[in-house]
């Protein structure tokens, strides 16, 4: 008999493996089952194909969808993490089509290569809502709408804020020397923010852009480039940094060069993204103003879906509301409410 005990264990393990795989993976009783056919009337099933979880911004973005599309709000959310690969996203969208979800939310990792799969979604009558990044397709009707940040507007508002700030400081007529740390060149955030600020810059004759250089959205590169800029330009009045990470690096460079920044320092620092750490820096008086890149797209997308459910037409391009923060505000309170 002993000889068979080994075989018995094997069979048992195999059954356990099989059993665990499907019993273990069935969602708990409270969650609606996957069978969308049964629950179609009760829940709106949303399929979300997310790029990954590479940054705090992305996680806050995912979290926003997750807290919006809950069972209490009448939704059931299927989340697919593409782990930074387009082929995973293509498969995810195809799987969502097969599962007959009601809506697909897609945050496209790259701009091209979506025509076929979006055509399949269209044939299946599933509206696709793009978020965050944009795509290039031959037929714009392949997706319902796009929701995301208006980077150009962010840049424009930064310029406007600077004009107002200088006015309040009585430096309206003064010569103002500006340097810019640009993001990764050709990224939509870089292009938009640079162009937006340029719009305001060209309206002010006394503003002078000394140099624009790319810090590639990273802290290390931001520090390195800022160090060079401080060496090559003796007088710098304003630093525009196109994201917070570069700003952190630039502040290090400014301080190690023996210079000061912020409202009480000699360099005005304007940054973008407005993550928690940046607000803390602002509390310490090192950043003057920070323009938000809002990741909380969930509520807006849910509103669009409500409109679509009601049979209304929706705008093709929808920008998310974004705010800005500066040192005149109650930063303590802002920090408490800040989720990312």
């Amino acid at each position: 008999m002993k000889r068979y005990s080994g075989i018995f264990v094997v069979v048992l393990l195999a059954c356990a493996a099989g059993g665990w795989m499907f019993f273990g993976c069935v969602p708990d009783e409270k969650a609606p089952s996957q069978d969308t056919m049964q629950d179609e009337e009760d829940y709106i099933v949303i399929g979300l194909s997310q790029i990954g979880s590479e940054s705090d911004w992305r996680n806050a973005n995912t979290g926003s969808f997750r807290s919006e599309f809950t069972a209490e709000n009448g939704y059931y959310l299927l989340f697919e993490d593409a782990q930074q690969k387009q082929e995973n996203q293509l498969k995810a969208v195809r799987d969502l089509i097969l599962q007959e979800v009601d809506y697909i939310i897609l945050d496209p990792i790259v701009e091209t290569g979506w025509d076929t799969v979006l055509m399949e979604a269209k044939d299946a009558g599933i509206p696709v809502i793009l978020v965050d990044r944009q795509i290039v397709v031959e037929d714009e009707d392949l997706y319902t709408c796009w929701v995301g940040s208006d980077f150009r507007e962010e840049g424009r508002r930064a310029g406007q804020w600077l004009a107002d700030y200088l006015e309040s400081q009585g430096r309206r007529e003064e010569q103002i020397r500006i340097v810019t740390l640009q993001g990764t060149l050709d990224s939509s955030a870089q292009i938009g923010r640079t162009m937006g600020f340029q719009d305001v810059l060209s309206a002010h004759g006394n503003w002078e852009m000394l140099e624009r250089r790319s810090g590639e959205f990273t802290q290390a590169k931001g520090q390195e480039v800022m160090r060079d800029l401080l060496q090559s330009h003796k007088e710098i009045d304003v630093l525009i940094s196109e994201n917070d990470n570069m700003t952190f690096g630039a502040i290090e460079a400014i301080e190690s060069a023996g210079r000061t920044c912020g409202p009480d320092g000699d360099i005005i620092v304007i940054s973008f993204d407005a993550v928690r750490t940046a607000i803390q820096f602002m509390q310490e008086g090192k950043i003057n103003a920070d323009f938000e890149c809002n990741p909380l797209l969930g509520p807006k997308v849910s509103k669009i879906i409500e409109e679509l459910e009601a049979g209304e037409r929706v705008e093709k391009i929808q920008y998310i509301e974004e705010q800005y923060f500066d040192t005149s505000m109650d930063l303590e309170k802002i920090l408490e409410e800040r989720t990312y």
């Binding site: 094997v10 493996a17 795989m21 091209t112 044939d123 299946a124």
Partner: protein
């Protein structure tokens, strides 16, 4: 007495492990259909798993070959990335044609196989070290060829990429009730051909049988008059060739070049081979098992994402658990052998 004839005791190790793999796969899939329903009831879900994993099936076949001879090859993922990048650059920047790019893919794969095989078999260097170096080399070379990821626009290629082989009678109505034919990509056809050819090769050719002999006990194999060095060399060459084919199939599936392509593919291939009943110690294994091993991993991923266990690491954990389970099963099988 008759019952005893059917007992697992009479199966060879290879066949016993194969049976376990296939049983577990079917239990898992049937479980998914019964408990999750939704997309799993449609055959296209299964074909999508095949589409996404066609390249992995081919790579895993190559890995099984070297693992049966007691070796290992961890360069296949890097080689795949290199092939995609070279073919993409060749097609888009140098106006190449598809058939030449296929030859190029096979050439790269073969070159890696021959070089690594020579070092492993004739200079008797640890295969792990050699192929690790091969992996670094291939990954490094990929970024030298081109750093930026991009989608291939070559017309002949995209046409080939979009070619679908309709599977008759397996279609299902989509959300709108329109009947959609089930399809597989060309890569799947190639993968299945590879599985059949490799299965026949290992089962019925003298060289194929000597793979098992060398992996089982290479001293005995030597005494039997098998050319051990040549056999190990050929196993690496075949693995390289299959990496070439798999690399091109992968390229055909994703249609882009990127240094991040096929990250961890070699580990997935090793895991699939082990789940499919190939032993790391050599001498035991079956290509059909490998095929089901890949499908099992793919199915787990689908179950996990459609079960609402939405974080990407869940599929990692379930895969790891499954892998451990099969390693336990293997050692139990080995213990059984010793007892007998």
């Amino acid at each position: 007495m008759k019952k005893k004839k059917f007992s697992l005791k009479d199966l060879t190790d290879t066949n016993l492990l194969l049976t376990i793999t296939i049983v577990v796969f079917f239990l898992m899939y049937i479980g998914a259909i019964l408990f999750q329903g939704g997309g799993f009831t449609k055959p296209q879900t299964f074909f999508n798993i095949l589409n996404a994993n066609a390249a992995l099936i081919i790579l895993s076949c190559g890995l099984s070959l070297v693992m049966i001879t007691g070796g290992i090859d961890i360069s296949v993922g890097g080689v795949t990335a290199l092939i995609s990048m070279c073919c993409a650059v060749y097609l888009d920047f140098h106006g190449g044609n598809v058939s030449t790019s296929l030859l190029m893919a096979l050439g790269i794969g073969l070159a890696f196989g021959i070089f690594q095989g020579f070092l492993v078999a004739y200079l008797d260097i640890q295969p792990f070290i050699i192929t690790l170096a091969g992996m670094f080399f291939a990954r490094g070379l990929t970024t030298i060829v081109n750093t930026k990821p991009f989608n291939v626009a070559n017309e002949a290629f995209t046409k080939l990429k979009l070619t679908r082989v309709i599977v008759p009678g397996m279609g299902a109505p989509n959300r709108r009730g329109v009947y959609v034919d089930a399809y597989v990509e060309l890569g799947v056809v190639v993968a299945i051909l590879v599985v059949i050819v490799m299965f026949c090769f290992l089962r019925w050719t003298k060289l194929g049988r000597s793979f098992y002999a060398v992996g089982g006990n290479h001293q005995s194999a030597l005494m039997l008059g098998i050319n051990v060095k040549r056999t190990r060399f050929i196993s690496h060459v075949l693995c390289g060739l299959l990496a070439g084919i798999g690399g091109f199939v992968y390229f055909l599936h994703v249609g882009s070049g990127s240094a991040a392509h096929a990250t961890g593919a070699e580990m997935d291939a090793i895991a699939s081979s082990i789940i499919g009943g190939t032993m790391l110690t050599g001498g035991v294994g079956n290509i059909v098992g490998t095929f089901f091993g890949v499908l099992s991993l793919g199915t787990i991923q689908n179950i996990v994402s459609s079960a609402g266990l939405d974080e990407a690491w869940w599929s990692g954990i379930t895969r790891a658990v499954m892998l451990c389970l099969f390693l336990v099963i293997q050692s139990v099988v080995m213990a059984r052998k010793k007892k007998a």
